[in-house]
């Protein structure tokens, strides 16, 4: 790494002056906020957004002509962005680029923003071509992380991130919205899996959610960044193509969303079924939602008054071979039902019986964590099936349709 200078303070304000036209504003904003988080997660830096007035770091998009920047851009390709070194604080992006998120098309806004913020914080270009601070854009990386050289550089300027104090007084003043650590999709247990609107597969763990596609994983977002008002560490999530409703469960509460908008009156308290569910899924064959806890399940008809007095019923009575206390479940677009627990998953056949050869590895088959295999694998299909050319954005925006959507089981299925 190369050091160009440093700020004499560690709490910096920033202001987003405009956004690109190629992305929905909430996606673009989240990409920029995540770019700040990459640095604040490894160095004792805090960033605060301001909506007006002078900010330390100012992010904006301009093109070939700019009244306030003498360094004009050059149209699509070539120079993508530039930034000033400390303590100037300008970060400029070429508005003629196709700024994208969650797809290999165009230029990834989050990664370029993180690079330019590196300059704004005092880092020069790195000689490691795989480092974020390398001068040439290496393309979209779904599971992006800082390179050790990037971390070493920023820590050389500002020191290492001090672990959170456990002092009681400090705990009381801690912001409740402070996110948990960013999970590694290649290890650990999922909180929930959901086949969401338009066939997008969402994986939830802790405070984060990401999409799973045939081609790889989408970037990790805070749950509340996509579904405003929703907490992390969910118990279960289920989307119903029958009603287009998404239900999230946590503790004794349920949240209902249509796409990314919370339904009025929610969250509500769970009254007629037990709290702390393990998993949930929508079964297209009977158009019902199944809720799981321990060794039991509830079957819920969203559009009729369900008599829950006969529930919970034993999971094994309907889903043969499934483990108790699954961490997640989903009825997927291939028509199979899947259960998840620990780092493993089980696939059920049409008779709802676990198929031979299961459980298998979630990391390998769902999360594309298979370093020896250049082609990503699909759940339950070994390594032979090829990528289907999906370009899945991370949220259900109105602009992206893809091959996955065509294969999504609908209510008509």
């Amino acid at each position: 790494y190369l050091l160009l200078g440093r700020w004499r303070k560690k709490h910096l304000t920033f202001r987003i002056l405009n956004l690109p036209s190629t992305l929905p504003s909430h996606i673009a904003r989240e990409a920029l906020l995540q770019a700040f988080r990459y640095w604040s997660e490894v160095a004792p830096l805090t960033f605060q957004e301001v909506q007006a007035g002078r900010a330390d770091i100012r992010l904006s998009f301009h093109g070939r002509q700019s009244l306030y920047c003498s360094n004009a851009f050059d149209g699509p390709g070539r120079v993508l962005a530039h930034a000033d070194i400390p303590e100037l604080g300008s970060v400029h992006f070429d508005e003629d680029e196709l700024w994208t998120e969650g797809t290999y098309r165009g230029v990834n806004l989050r990664i370029i923003a993180a690079h330019e913020l590196g300059h704004a914080l005092g880092l020069g270009h790195s000689r490691y071509t795989k480092a974020l601070m390398a001068p040439v854009y290496a393309g979209y990386r779904p599971y992006f992380r800082l390179h050790p050289d990037d971390v070493a550089g920023i820590q050389a300027l500002y020191g290492k991130k001090i672990p959170e104090t456990t002092d009681e007084e400090e705990e009381e003043t801690e912001l409740p919205t402070e996110p948990g650590p960013m999970p590694n999709p290649c290890s650990g247990e999922l909180d929930a899996v959901m086949l969401g609107p338009r066939g997008k597969t969402y994986a939830f763990r802790g405070d984060y959610v990401w999409t799973v596609t045939d081609a790889g994983l989408g970037p990790l977002f805070r749950v509340s960044a996509l579904w405003e008002g929703l907490p992390g560490n969910l118990d279960a999530a289920v989307y119903s193509p029958r009603t287009q409703r998404i239900h999230f469960f946590k503790g004794d509460k349920v949240w209902r969303y249509i796409n990314f908008k919370m339904a009025p009156g929610f969250p509500k308290k769970l009254n007629r079924i037990e709290p702390n569910l393990d998993a949930a899924l929508f079964w297209p064959l009977n158009q019902k939602v199944f809720l799981f806890k321990g060794s039991g399940y509830w079957q819920w008809d969203e559009l009729a008054l369900t008599d829950f007095s006969r529930y919970p019923k034993p999971i094994k009575g309907l889903f043969t071979g499934v483990p108790d206390q699954p961490s997640a479940a989903v009825s997927w677009r291939d028509g199979h039902v899947y259960f998840f627990k620990g780092g493993e998953y089980w696939r059920l056949n049409r008779q709802l019986r676990v198929e031979k050869g299961y459980p298998k590895s979630v990391a390998q088959d769902w999360m594309h964590c298979h370093p020896q295999t250049p082609e990503p694998t699909l759940p339950g299909e070994g390594t032979t099936r090829s990528v289907t050319g999906t370009s899945l954005a991370t949220t259900a925006s109105a602009v992206d349709t893809d091959a996955v959507s065509d294969r999504t089981p609908s209510a008509a299925d």
Binding site: A81, R127, T129, Y137
Partner: protein, 79 residues
Amino acid sequence: RALGPAEEAAVDYLLQYGYLQKPLEGPQVFRPEDIAEALRAFQEASELPVSGQLDDAVRARMRQPRCGLEDPFNQKTLK
């Protein structure tokens, strides 16, 4: 000798990103050995075969999208 369009574009790139230094005085004429040294620094920094020649790999690398800031790489920093 006069530079062809491809060579001129390469020299512009090397100048723009700090591999070649503009002379403070006199005409902006670079000796072939200056350009070759800048190309070697660029190749080394880009993990390309180091030849000091403007080959296809160098041209392809120079066409890639990138940050507008200068690179700090020259023979001294690489050393």
